[in-house]
Symmetry: C2
Subunit: 266 residues, 2 copies
């Protein structure tokens, strides 16, 4: 039986009501540390099963330690199971330590579609995907690129090879490399899959740890690559936010993300 | 001894390491439900004491039940106590139910000031405070107005009395009514103290429950009223986000908030 890489990543085996065991496969990392969106996806897969609702709607993780390939454990607790939404809290553990703590509210986005609309935000104006720059060309090879296919708009793709755009922004197209459609769980992966915005300004270089990441999943994506924009307005006090918007092929905003990250000391 | 209203609200008495008892005083409510920022402030006051760090840096609450005046209990657990940051999770309980679940990372923002800066966001261009419209004039009297002094810019203050601006945005000046300075804890209060942005568009009217609220505290405010802008770009599927920016008198962005709220069914 063939399964996708993302489904293998997020597969969990229940041990009782509140504990699930999984294993992070190799090559979801960037320089040895497993990508934060991959960790969040595993944690949310566990909470989602505990609450028995199909879609993550708002999920927040606080990152406590870097993760490695290998066995992990999701522990979860239902905080409230309501008619429309259910909320759970939990932890993703590896060995003797928590990699992250998580809280999430889950529901059924398909049942919520329709109703009053008022949308003023717009997707980024992107170069056609075939003329964009693969992340593997724009930046040093990281194995994570084998999992998530990111095609950077040429306007922001020169950061590693000499031409920072001067804007703390990254835009492009994103999909899963093996062609698996991006569902509401996989939106949590792509919500932390871009190079840091600050690579495009003259900020100190280095590893950029995420303190906290919140993703709002706003609709079930239709198939196809997503258009994505991540930008930063405020870098000060050693911290910066990254605000992401993710649009599907039908032009619907399917997710928003915001993370608070720590600027390298330089 | 005279104390401020906010300090009375957030006063807690420890019962062991992980439980603190408090009481929400009267008149922090809107139509009977205690304001969400007030509830978050009480919860964060508890977690802050548990971790022993001065400033909330990123705090997320998922709201589970409306709160009333009266006794409350904060339960907390330290998830990680690091050198620079400490993370805790917890709940604010009233009677037999959780009003909210919370996760927060705390630290010392004063120690983090300085370093590389790159700021492109700007505060709203506001009418002078003396020419703004008190919330009590712009909207029906709610007792919460006695606690938080909100002066709405005239451009967005007509929503109740006939003239919606058509933009899902509210801008104005905010301070505590009794003159207590806004510190990093009180930023959690003001991060949920404005009328809903959707009151200024033709959305269905009614009670707007917050599912989730995240506040990033980015700097310690200098004294004086804050300039605030809260806006919404995406109303669809029965949900909308509210993005808030809070600026102090020195022109520093001191906090960002984002909440996911449920549109009234109309």
């Amino acid at each position: 039986m063939v399964t996708t890489e993302f489904d293998t990543l997020t597969a969990l085996e229940a041990h009782g009501d509140a504990v699930m065991l999984g294993a992070i496969p190799p090559r979801w990392d960037i320089m040895g540390n497993v990508n934060g969106g991959a960790l969040l996806s595993v944690a949310a897969a566990g909470l989602r099963r505990i609450v028995g609702r199909p879609d993550p709607i708002s999920v927040t993780a606080h990152y406590l330690a870097p993760g490695r390939d290998g066995p992990v454990e999701v522990r979860g607790e239902v905080a409230k199971a309501g008619r429309q939404f259910a909320t759970a809290t939990g932890a993703l553990r590896q060995g003797e330590r928590d990699l992250l703590r998580v809280i999430g509210t889950f529901g059924d986005l398909t049942a919520m579609s329709g109703g009053f609309q008022h949308v003023t935000g717009e997707p980024p104006d992107l170069t056609p995907i075939e003329d964009c720059v693969p992340r593997s060309v724009a930046a040093p090879e990281v194995v994570f690129q084998e999992r998530v296919r990111l095609m950077l708009d040429p306007s922001c793709a020169g950061f590693w090879h000499g031409t920072k755009s001067g804007r703390a922004e990254v835009i492009g197209w994103i999909s899963l490399a093996d062609g698996r459609p991006i569902d509401t769980l996989a939106l949590l992966l792509v919500a932390d899959a871009l190079p840091p915005t600050v690579f495009n300004i003259d900020a100190p270089a280095g590893w950029v740890p995420t303190l906290e990441l919140t993703v709002h999943v706003r609709a079930v994506p239709v198939p196809g690559p997503l258009r994505v924009r991540v930008r930063t307005q405020f870098v000060h006090g050693g911290l910066f936010e990254e605000d992401g918007e993710y649009w599907d092929a039908s032009g619907t905003l399917v997710a928003q993300s915001r993370q608070l990250a720590l600027l390298p000391r330089g």
